[in-house]
Symmetry: C2
Subunit: 178 residues, 2 copies
């Protein structure tokens, strides 16, 4: 998939943070002209479609500083360096919800913001959930509230934008097609 490829002539590092890096690349366009591309580097993330024995979708509400509001999302989190996505997925599900899952399967991967960031999300499905005693702790700067919502209610929440998160909206639509 190299159609319209843009070759990099020079990369200028701008910022190297705890979560993102930023660089500006000078590229040659397919027509030979030059352009600059602003590139946000992200380690990638996982998200988990976790379904309880009652058939409810497990979600968490948390404050998202970038949006200056709290939003409702399926459990999700960043990959640690070198970590297999399924390991991240199991960890984030446990930390954010206290659930483990006997059945854990990979669904698919997609890019969230291909215009400016390289973040991809690996999506997993967790079934046959059980509560973990003495669950792993959240990161010290993380605060979440657990929600368990029926498919019908979740679909209504997508339609009226109470679910305002792309991966979660995808998860709800996907569930409705099973």
């Amino acid at each position: 998939m190299k159609k319209f490829e843009e070759k990099t002539i020079q990369t200028t590092a701008i910022f190297d943070g705890k979560i993102v890096k930023l660089q500006v690349d000078d590229v040659i366009l397919p027509n030979g002209n030059m352009a600059k591309r602003e590139i946000v580097k992200h380690p990638g993330a996982v998200a988990v479609i976790a379904i309880t024995h009652e058939g409810k979708l497990v979600m968490v509400e948390q404050y998202r500083k970038v949006l200056e509001r709290s939003i409702i999302e399926i459990p999700a989190g960043k990959l640690e360096p070198g970590e297999e996505p399924i390991v991240t997925a199991r960890r984030e599900l446990e930390e954010e919800t206290g659930y483990g899952a006997k059945e854990f399967t990979y669904l698919q991967t997609f890019a969230t913001s291909p215009g400016f960031a390289d973040e991809v999300i690996h999506l997993f499905i967790a079934k046959d959930l059980y509560k973990i005693e003495n669950k792993a702790q959240l990161d010290e700067d993380e605060f979440v509230e657990l929600l368990e919502v029926s498919l019908k209610e979740a679909q209504a929440m997508v339609a009226d934008e109470r679910i305002y998160d792309a991966k979660t909206a995808f998860a709800v639509l996907w569930l409705g097609l099973q």
Copy 2:
């Protein structure tokens, strides 16, 4: 929606680019501790679920430098300053595909990467398409190829990750539910 609000103490501007800005905010967490938040600012975008008279979904293939590959997406683009999303949606559909639409309706808005970027995408549905003669030109650094794909084929492309873009995957699932 201010649950677990994080109050900003200080904002440090890092980068002010053509597409994104980057800042680091010092915040007070709900438990009184301090944390830093890396925040990518983006003007917001639109995406268009455009359906031809033959019932096909209109998509474009383009090179995404951040991913170092070309991907298939529904038509989409950034908001210009002060621009109404529906104006952007009509413009991007025309520029990227040459189509206008007699029926243009708002579907919903979602955040694409709430962990690190404030980008939201406003999603529209375009029906009753017609070809525009002497269509508006693409941006000078933009190269796209038009595709028109049946719903069944698009669903297969989501399942096997030929569609690797979150908004486009959402659009295909949404269409399948109509």
